[in-house]
Symmetry: C2
Subunit: 234 residues, 2 copies
Amino acid sequence: MDVRALVFDVFGTVVDWRSGVARDARALLGGRTGAAVDPVAFADAWRSRYLPSMDRVRRGEQPWTNLDGLHRASLDDLLVEFGVPDVPEPVRAELVLAWHRLDPWPDAVDGLTRLKRDHVIGTLSNGNVALLVDMAKRAGLPWDVILSAELVGHYKPDPEVYDATARLLGLAPEQVMLVAAHVDDLAAARARGLRTAYVYRPDEHGPAVAPPPADPLADISVASFAELATHLRP
Amino acid sequence: MDVRALVFDVFGTVVDWRSGVARDARALLGGRTGAAVDPVAFADAWRSRYLPSMDRVRRGEQPWTNLDGLHRASLDDLLVEFGVPDVPEPVRAELVLAWHRLDPWPDAVDGLTRLKRDHVIGTLSNGNVALLVDMAKRAGLPWDVILSAELVGHYKPDPEVYDATARLLGLAPEQVMLVAAHVDDLAAARARGLRTAYVYRPDEHGPAVAPPPADPLADISVASFAELATHLRP
């Protein structure tokens, strides 16, 4: 393998969206609603609207809307569903920004710093550019480049996103490796010729949902970015 | 002013294209052509084809071609003009990569590092993404985000480039400042509502061409990124 660039899925792969969104939901909705809103259930419910909202864009039923916009629309629905339809506008805007303030998994910053020595490292996320930039600055994620569905006008797993990644990096698809905790994302990348690395993130969805420990179809399966760095050491 | 993001023109503003291209032309063409090719004249002649080549794309006379592609086409013409039409393909490819290997002006890395503490810092260049990523890794330019004409499909000074910058950063135009050594780039950014900072780079074109010491229409004129950091300190 001659992997020159590593691009990373972000939500669940690099950062822990569930704890981060629950933390901000607790802070921003807790005082208002007392025990009414379970912040972790709220985070899970919000995330469950993620794929359907992108699929509406992918099928052309909705014009291009970036992830902040999709998060905002699903939040408005969710607040009704959770019985708190009176949350004011500034609180809604702050809640959408919870997705900009997610903490990385404990191994992420050190692992990325090691990987960066010998590779171009970048995001390849459905998150919008501003979200990814805010997140990286807050968390110290040392990206060389921010690549986003927003730059292509297509959400993963549309093939356009993976094709654009190799083209923008000036590389052949097989010189680019997608790193993700999700086998469907990896399968879509492989179908466009990218290399793939599966990362086992057992806590992404909480204790009730167990992801597979490895992806037999990926080039590599690892349990941390440090392990990936060791594997890829030139 | 509430400037949240600083975006930088790159060629001439952050890096010294003239010395860098001359260095690689000397190394790659020197042995072949003896005294026939003056490497500095070669760098100037190559750069002189930059605006006309982009203008053909901007006027729609040529489909979108990234800067590596434009550099390659103008190089092929230039080698004929300089009397060395027999330069082989691998040397041509290496020469195009000279634009990926330019050195920053002496104040650039330290100044950007200071500016990054309180601002998002990014490129806003007609260079393609791969070029900007290669350059940043080699030179240690600590960008938060790589923004490029290539992502928009329009070259500066087309208004689409400046409009896309604020949109992708999730900011109002007046929260974004373009930093450039070229008054025409700054004027085009101002026309789209961006803030502007002029940087005096007296050596960009060598001793025969003197740029203005300041741009009275810009919000700030400085002689280094360090001076800009001091001006913008919160």
